[in-house]
Amino acid sequence: MRNFKVTQENRGGVVLFKLQGYLNDLGGEEVERLFKVSVKEGQRKFIIDFGKIAYINSIGVSFLVGIMDATREKTLKVCFTSLSKINDELFDMVGLKKYAATFPSDTEALAYLKKV
């Protein structure tokens, strides 16, 4: 994971994951692991910020699909923010946008999650 970093913050009951670099199998695994730990701790609202993501490969995408599958069963809310044009198109193509609301920034996603 030399080219990938993920940081985690809690913003008033919303868990914010900020991803950076190349999201591949190793990065995807790490995000999935952190997500599962947070769910286990009782967290229900999440933002995944892709603002500093340079590239995503298909295996990285598959881990995101796995995360979104978990949200369907457990009434969890996940928002994606700061998607580049290509990643927005990619998420649309693989059907991720059906399960997660997307926002230009974390502020807008936070405002949305506080309402729901």
Partner: protein
């Protein structure tokens, strides 16, 4: 211990490794080792070079090279050859400071005892005496044990380790005592730090399955000699050309490397023959003609036929049977055939079919996996099999074989050459860039970074370039995961024009069907959370044109992205 360097073509890493091993042996820490690789990778050259370096460059140990180079009339015939080779080299080593020429002295068996007596080597005299007594009373076992343990006894008596470099060790399975192999006797001789063995042989699969396990326990470590990287081979060709003064056309040799798959020995034999026969290999036709002549009746043919016939005394009937099996496998065009189908097709008993396949497997021509048999995936071996079948089964003459088989080879060489010269139909003004990536985690990012810069020569917008980047990442991952590239590399070629960019991702490994791979990955994944198999679909979505091509030596993926502005 100071070991003198001598110029040697490549294999510097392996030589350094073995020189380190020699240091350990000289200090009393030697251990046995297997060196395995496919034929023609250069094991014999490496062993001989190592022996030369150790022989002349140091005194801490005595290197002895022995090769199973012929069939033996009986066990004592083998013992005699083994002892003559061993004792001559040892007696010569001890005199090396006094001799005037570097050419090895070859002793006859009768003169060995006189020389041992002259040098005051009592233990060598004893070894000879035991052998002569064993011959007289036809005591095979005693003779064999005496020969195989001689290095250890001589080393101990002289207080100087001996390193036994045993070449073509696969043939040991053909040296038998009343129908049983002699590996059991050899186990008496191994495991000694006084006389460790470096066993070298081929083919790897056959040795790992049939020979190496019989030497243990404890199991002997195995080192695999990797084929030389293509770049180093190209460098070697230049050296060979200089040595043999053959003006081999560079483009031909490069095309041919794809088929040789790193088997240097084949190329060396071919060039050697070229030197004898022709001053140049200036055309595809000339090259192919020479290659096929060499397979039919030249050095390459002898190389393979020795493997197949020399170590086993195959009678003509059995020989014809083997050719019939090869013919059936040739017809299957590379697919594995169930052994039971082979039996039925040629009307064989199960036992005959199994023993024949074992012989062919030992010769390195076929592979057997769980009851299914197929020809080895190597272009040169496959060509040789076709030559054998045409020559012996269909009784075709050389000219006809060259004409018919040659046409196909010429065509594929011309195609390879054409692709090398014109990688893209994008026009004369296109710019070409290429990259060679090691198959390593995240090395696809290097290709993407290069693409970022290369894309500046086009007028593609940022979104389009991003799509090419994403597709390139997927293509590199696919090639790395599924090709099993023999050179562990991915080649990426970019062709750019203002209005378009073409990317070709090539691996020189096992050709794979990307659609089948994708289907298998999706099938094998958890249906609720599919982790794999999306790459190809993404590439097809992102690029304007996508084309796969399964080549003889791997897979090529062409992708084109055109500028929206030009449409």
């Amino acid at each position: 211990m100071k070991i003198e360097e001598k110029p040697f073509i490549n294999r510097h890493f392996e030589l350094a490794h073995f020189k380190q091993k020699a240091e350990e042996i000289a200090q009393g820490n030697g251990e046995d080792l297997f060196l395995i690789s496919p034929w023609g990778t250069g094991k014999t050259a490496l062993l001989k070079e190592l022996k030369e370096i150790l022989f002349w460059g140091q005194d801490g140990l005595m290197p002895v090279y022995f090769s199973f180079s012929r069939a033996y009339a009986d066990l004592l015939d083998f013992c005699e050859e083994y002892l003559v080779s061993l004792l001559s080299q040892i007696l010569f080593f001890d005199q090396k400071g006094r001799i005037a020429t570097r050419r090895p002295v070859s002793f006859s068996f009768s003169s060995l005892r006189r020389e041992a007596e002259r040098q005051g080597k009592g233990v060598i005299e004893e070894v000879i005496l035991i052998h002569q007594r064993a011959v007289k009373i036809k005591e095979d076992r005693k003779g064999l044990l005496n020969a195989l343990t001689a290095p250890r006894r001589i080393a101990q008596a002289g207080n100087k380790p001996i390193w036994m470099l045993i070449d073509h060790v696969q043939a040991v399975l053909d040296v038998t005592l009343t129908g049983k192999g002699i590996v059991g006797f050899w186990r008496e001789a191994i495991g000694s730090s006084w006389a460790p063995h470096l066993f070298s042989g081929e083919p790897p699969g056959y040795l790992l399955k049939n020979l190496i396990p019989s030497f243990g326990p404890p199991s002997i470590p195995v080192m695999e000699l990797k084929p030389l990287p293509v770049e180093e081979e190209a460098e070697l060709t230049i050296l060979l050309e200089k040595t043999f003064k053959v003006n081999i056309a560079r483009d031909l040799s490069e095309s041919w490397f794809l088929y040789l798959e790193g088997n240097l020995g084949f190329l060396t034999s071919l060039i050697r023959e070229a030197r004898l026969e022709t001053p140049g290999l200036e055309s595809h036709q000339r090259f192919v003609e020479l290659y096929l002549k060499s397979l039919c009746q030249g050095e390459l043919g002898r190389l393979f036929e020795n493997r197949l016939y020399d170590f086993k005394k195959i009678d003509p009937l059995n020989g014809r049977l083997l050719i019939k099996i090869l013919n059936q496998l040739l017809k299957s065009e590379g697919s594995l055939v169930p052994l039971t189908d082979l039996q039925k097709a040629i009307d064989l008993t199960s036992r005959t079919a199994q023993s024949s396949v074992r012989l062919l497997e030992q010769a390195g021509l076929v592979r057997e996996r769980f009851g299914n048999v197929g020809l080895e995936n190597n272009r040169v071996l496959r060509d040789w099999v076709e030559v054998l079948v045409r020559k012996y089964l269909y009784q075709e003459d050389l000219d006809r074989i060259i004409k018919q088989l040659g046409k196909g080879i010429e065509k594929s060489l011309a195609k390879t050459k054409e692709e090398e010269e014109t990688p893209s139909p994008m026009g004369e003004n296109a710019l070409h860039f290429s990259l060679v990536l090691p198959i390593n985690p995240e090395s696809e990012l290097v290709a993407v970074r290069a693409l970022e810069q290369i894309a500046t020569y086009t007028d593609l917008d940022e979104a389009s370039v991003d799509k090419v980047k994403m597709s390139l990442i997927e293509a590199c991952i696919n090639a790395g995961e599924h090709s099993r590239s023999f050179e562990k590399k991915i080649r990426v070629y970019f062709t750019v024009q203002p209005g378009a960019i073409e990317v070709l991702v090539e691996d020189r490994g096992q050709a794979f069907d990307p659609v089948a791979v994708q289907a298998r990955l999706v099938r094998e994944s958890d249906p609720l959370s599919p982790k794999r198999g999306r790459g190809l679909a993404l590439i097809k979505e992102m690029m304007d044109e996508v084309r796969f091509e399964k080549a003889d030596i791997g897979t090529r993926l062409y992708m084109v992205k055109k500028s929206d502005k030009r449409e």
